[in-house]
């Protein structure tokens, strides 16, 4: 049996009297695209932040490739091969697209002191250009990231998440605010990347259509617990899920 890329064991987190996440466990196998859905307030963002070390869970543990990552700072998580995107726009607005993407890779090369004496691009221009071209941003390479459209910035954000060659990428509402054409493109690129590199994804998303067509497996959260799990068609038909969404 292979080691799961991500293993979440019995995570719980409360805020005062509210139990946002109440004992959630699941595993993600290599190459999977796992969707994490649930109505508003179901605890998926809290869970996400617990996995990424932004919040300290009250109990439970998180393992990446068999290594515990509890208590690690975000940059260490990144260096362990966990990439992520952000719900809000998260680029470096006054740097070029190329510099944005190079920055996403350079901290994974050599030592801090070594980087002071490294080539200005840390030898990453070619790799960054490949990734920029992969996300169809080639013509915008030298533009300031802040000058791009919303959808284009989302693509830059995604490209950055992949630059260091992560084994696991967590996507936080990638579809939010992106227009339909752009969204189809983003989904197609994500699937293509997954096929080419076998990278594992965990996706939090509101847009059901997007999740259903992107993910290979879906976990549904409601009131801090997993209420359903399975392939998209099964989850879509599950009465408990329909209840949670309609009754919520």
């Amino acid at each position: 049996m292979t080691v799961p890329v991500l293993a979440v064991r019995d995570i719980a987190k409360g805020f005062g009297a509210i139990r946002a996440v109440d004992g959630v466990s699941f595993e993600v196998r290599p190459g999977e695209i796992l969707g994490l859905i649930g109505p508003n307030g179901s605890g998926k963002s809290t869970l996400f932040n617990c996995i990424l070390g932004q919040l300290t869970p009250d109990r439970g543990s998180v393992e990446v490739n068999g290594r515990s990552v509890s208590g690690r700072r975000p940059f260490e998580l990144s260096r362990l091969g966990v990439g992520r995107t952000f719900q809000q726009l998260s680029v470096f607005p006054k740097m070029s697209v190329l510099d944005n993407v190079i920055l996403a890779g350079q901290e994974h090369r050599g030592s801090l002191l070594g980087r002071l004496f490294a080539a200005p691009d840390a030898g990453l221009t070619a790799e960054a250009e490949r990734l920029i071209a992969f996300f169809r941003l080639g013509h915008l390479r030298d533009e300031m990231a802040g000058a791009l459209s919303y959808g284009q910035q989302k693509l830059v954000d995604a490209a950055m998440a992949f630059m260091a060659g992560p084994s696991l990428v967590l996507l936080d509402e990638p579809a939010g605010g992106v227009n339909l054409t752009m969204l189809a493109g983003l989904k197609e690129r994500l699937i293509a990347y997954n096929r080419e590199h076998g990278t594992t994804f965990v996706v939090i998303e509101h847009n059901m259509e997007f999740v259903m067509s992107l993910c290979t497996r879906i976990i549904v959260l409601a009131e801090g617990r997993i209420i359903a799990e399975g392939p998209p068609e099964a989850v879509r038909a599950d009465p408990r899920v329909i209840d949670a969404y309609l009754g919520g």
């Binding site: 940059f75 952000f86 470096f92 006054k94 920055l103 801090l112 980087r115 004496f117 490294a118």
Partner: protein, 321 residues
Amino acid sequence: MKRLLLLGLGLVALLVAPLGQGTYVTYLLCSWLTFGIAAMGLNLTLGYAGQISLAQASFMGIGAYVTALLTLAGWPWLAAMPLAVAACFLVGLALGFPALRVQGHFLAFVTLAFNTLFFLVARNEDGLTGGPYGLSGMPRPDFGLLDTAQQPAFYYFTLAVFLAAAVLLWGIVRSPWGRAFKGLRENPIRAESLGLDTRRITLMAFAIGSAYGGLAGALFSPLVQYVEPGSFAFAQSLRILLMVVVGGAGFFFAPMLGAAMVILLPEVLRFTEGYYLMIYAGAVIVLMVVCPEGLIGLGGRLRDRFQAPRPRGDLQEGARP
């Protein structure tokens, strides 16, 4: 190509600048280069890395006092200077720790408080610093072939140190560190999530910027041959900050331009006598209201207005934090 030509012209101008000038003008030029170094350092901390510091004068002070004490004790300048720079690097590293907890206005006040504490220590510890009367009579460095006791020679010595410091800084901001500093300024949370150890790079931004302050102090001591606490009070930090912001924080050449404005403008406004500080402060307010990006930003904006839009590669050095 055009850039290289401009750079060459600038160099030639710097080389011929003191020729045929009186002692006072040469002194002003030395002062400009010295403060230019301090402002360069602050530009790294503030302009590139986005960490506000109102303590740059205290680092000039530490550098100046260390150099003064050591050279008065008979050390050669070349031995005293590295110690001054190293001391500032370490103190700057320590001052970086508050920046890991607080940002913005709070950081501004912590650094301001540090500067004022330094001033109090310099004024009160008579045994070490000479108290309010300060230290005087520091020798100017003598390198055998080049004795800098006279004004033109001292200018070329200052210029050499200035150029070395500028080239070194250019190397730093061009290296991956430069990109990391800008990433810290633009979006620290995203930068951390991409593997950037934001704590370390924040500390480095403070330490290197402060070391440049120390280097400026090491030059200030033999230039003025008199160091006293008042030269390194908070008001002086404010002047250095103005050099950076008036020039345009985050642009490589901005501190040189800003330092020229801050040092030379008072000379130009001398005829207004006591009003010059008022005019000056008023001009700064107007500049900040009209163009918060500083003079280089103002220049860029004017050019954009009169020229067809084109790729903004020229702004790659970054901008206001």
